[in-house]
């Protein structure tokens, strides 16, 4: 007689939002297949589904599920909120984007939702196994999304580059994990920290090598130099809405993993990884900002700016303190809003057959479309870090955290490189306001894009004018209730 253990549904509590999103994703495919005439509802359904998941995440209590594999704490919840906001804004943008690019398929939205599930799992991963699975679920969905426009050779090239580099990075991550597993005998992140102390592994070179391999793979995922080479090409070739999505969600999820693994799994090695990440952050800021100077395509410029901003965000992680991590979390939320806003303007300006991605296309935009130009001005100011926008607040807290932890050189680097970045962000503003229009662009403010721009503007100005509330949220997320 075999005793069958009854499945306790309570055990699934920690992954209810993820399971809900999987159902939404399947429903979207189903709707696409059985009601192809109702495709205009797909983006709105995605938004509603993600909003519901957002509420579930916000209402979650601190629980650890599946024997420590899934950790639902406020740290994870904060990152989940960033990722879900990213999906919501992308879906709203896509509602406009499908009119110009014709990406109508249901898979588009369901893949987006599936990659969101991967990000949520990454944010709450308590075990390297869950971390890997979440990472791959996120990455595989995004490879497909990048290669979605089947007739466009550029996006196929971008998808190929992303897949090759992504596959290589995950193989390196796995090799690092296998070394760590061999030395500590566990894949549970918090257990690893215990075993490194009890097993006297603090000066073990093999463990350091394993950690180094894992760090290299994470750096790849969030586009930290020298692992950033895929970023400009992939961001440039992907459909614009997907580029916006890639620059926010996966980055936030990557930093969630960064923080969790380094601060929970390897806190004793802070002396080693702190200085390593400090030099990588400097290198990333230098490469991102200096290469962005010479770009003529605004999409490519934003890709290099994404590299630079990954470098800024690293400042909070490398300080290794709760304060630093909360600064990174705030910065990623801020970056989500301002970058999504800038990409929404790109999506808005594109028309069928003419993507208007070059800087020249922005000449005189203020005369033909003052509203779009003004919004772009705010997002560019925020990306530069000019008060009273959110970008300033975010950078300020990052500087404070890194300075407090004693990384003075990196702080000086950030200040220098962000003043260099003012050149190429404000060049867009100069083109818009101080040049004569090339052509009369008539813009179509559809409900989707208007909503996306509105939310992004609210986020940028809201965090900029009332910084305390968000920082407070991020701080309580780390320091406990």
């Amino acid at each position: 007689m075999i005793n069958t253990a009854l499945v306790s549904w309570k055990a699934f509590g920690p992954i209810v939002p993820e399971m809900f999103l999987v159902c939404i994703g399947l429903f979207l495919i189903g709707l696409d297949v059985f009601a192809p005439k109702r495709r205009e509802f797909l983006p709105w359904l995605t938004v509603i589904g993600c909003l519901a998941a957002l509420l579930m995440v916000a209402g979650e209590k601190d629980i650890v599920g599946f024997g420590g594999m899934i950790i639902c704490d406020s740290y994870a919840a904060f990152f989940k909120v960033i990722c879900l906001i990213g999906v919501i804004l992308t879906a709203l943008m896509s509602e406009h984007f499908r009119r110009t690019e014709g990406l109508n398929q249901g898979e588009y939205y369901s893949l987006m939702v599936f990659s969101a599930v991967g990000m949520l799992l990454m944010a709450s991963a308590g075990d390297l196994m869950v971390l890997y699975l979440g990472l791959e679920l996120m990455a595989l969905s995004i490879y497909c999304l990048v290669g979605m426009p089947r007739n466009d050779g550029r996006s196929a090239e971008a998808a190929m580059k992303y897949l090759l580099m992504g596959g290589f990075a995950s193989a390196i991550l796995l090799y690092g994990i296998s070394i760590v597993y061999g030395l500590t005998g566990t894949t549970n992140i918090s257990q690893i920290a215990k075993f490194t102390v009890s097993g006297n592994l603090l000066h073990n070179p093999a463990l350091l090598a394993g950690l180094g391999l894992m760090l290299a793979a994470f750096c790849f995922k969030v586009a930290i130099a020298p692992f950033h080479f895929w970023t400009p090409d992939v961001y440039d070739g992907a459909p614009t809405a997907i580029t916006a999505f890639m620059s926010v969600g996966p980055k936030a999820a990557g930093f969630a993993v960064f923080g969790r693994v380094l601060l929970t799994g390897f806190p004793q090695f802070h002396d080693q990884w702190g200085i390593l990440l400090a030099s990588l952050a400097l290198l990333t800021m230098a490469i991102g900002n200096i290469t962005a100077l010479s770009q003529t395509s605004i999409k490519r410029m934003l890709a290099y700016s994404a590299v630079a901003h990954a470098g800024y965000s690293l400042l909070g992680v490398l300080s290794g303190t709760a304060e630093g991590l909360s600064a990174t979390m705030t910065y990623l939320l801020t970056y989500g809003f301002m970058n999504m806003g800038a990409f929404a303007i790109l999506v808005l300006l594109a028309s069928p057959g003419n993507r208007r991605e070059s800087l020249e296309d922005y000449k005189g935009l203020a005369k033909t479309n003052p509203m779009a130009a003004f919004l772009m001005l705010i997002f560019m100011f925020s990306l530069t870090g000019i008060p009273p926008t959110a970008g300033f607040v975010g950078k300020f807290y990052l500087l404070k955290a890194a300075f407090g932890a004693g990384y003075t050189m990196t702080v000086i680097g950030l200040v220098i490189f962000s003043s260099i970045s003012a050149f190429f962000y404000l060049r867009v503003v100069r083109y818009m306001y101080m040049s004569d229009p090339q052509e009369n662009i008539s813009l179509d403010f559809t409900p989707g894009i208007s909503a996306a721009l509105g939310i992004a503007l609210l986020g940028v100005l809201g965090i900029g004018l009332l910084p305390g509330s968000v920082i407070g949220q991020a701080a309580t997320a780390l320091l406990g209730q």
Binding site: L128, M129, E136, G147, I177, S178, R300
Partner: protein, 100 residues
């Protein structure tokens, strides 16, 4: 019994061959195969360690890696086909529209 270090050395050699293949080959399919070789080196490592430590985690992990690798190969070949349709090549040096 074969000592653990032999397995781990074999895995390290396989992984190194995979890395070299990935960096030197320029055919998309060969690059995918090199990644598969790297993943299989990891699998070997995981299973050997799991057996040696008598812990199940490594073996469970291996199953997940195999599954994900299959999914990745499917997507990779799909992308290779789209690329071939638009460019008539799978040689990565000739796929260079995006640069700057």
């Amino acid at each position: 019994m074969i000592p653990l270090s032999w397995y781990m050395s074999l895995a390290a050699i396989l992984f190194a061959i995979g890395v070299c293949g990935f960096l030197t080959r320029r055919n998309l399919i060969m690059m995918f195969l090199s990644i598969e070789l790297m993943l299989n080196a990891v699998n070997l490592n995981m299973v050997a360690i799991s057996h040696y430590l008598e812990s199940m985690r490594g073996q469970v992990f291996t199953f997940f890696i195999i599954t994900v690798a299959a999914a990745e190969a499917a997507i990779g070949l799909g992308i290779a086909i789209t690329l071939y349709r638009s460019r008539k090549t799978v040689h990565v040096d000739e796929v260079n529209q995006l640069k700057g």
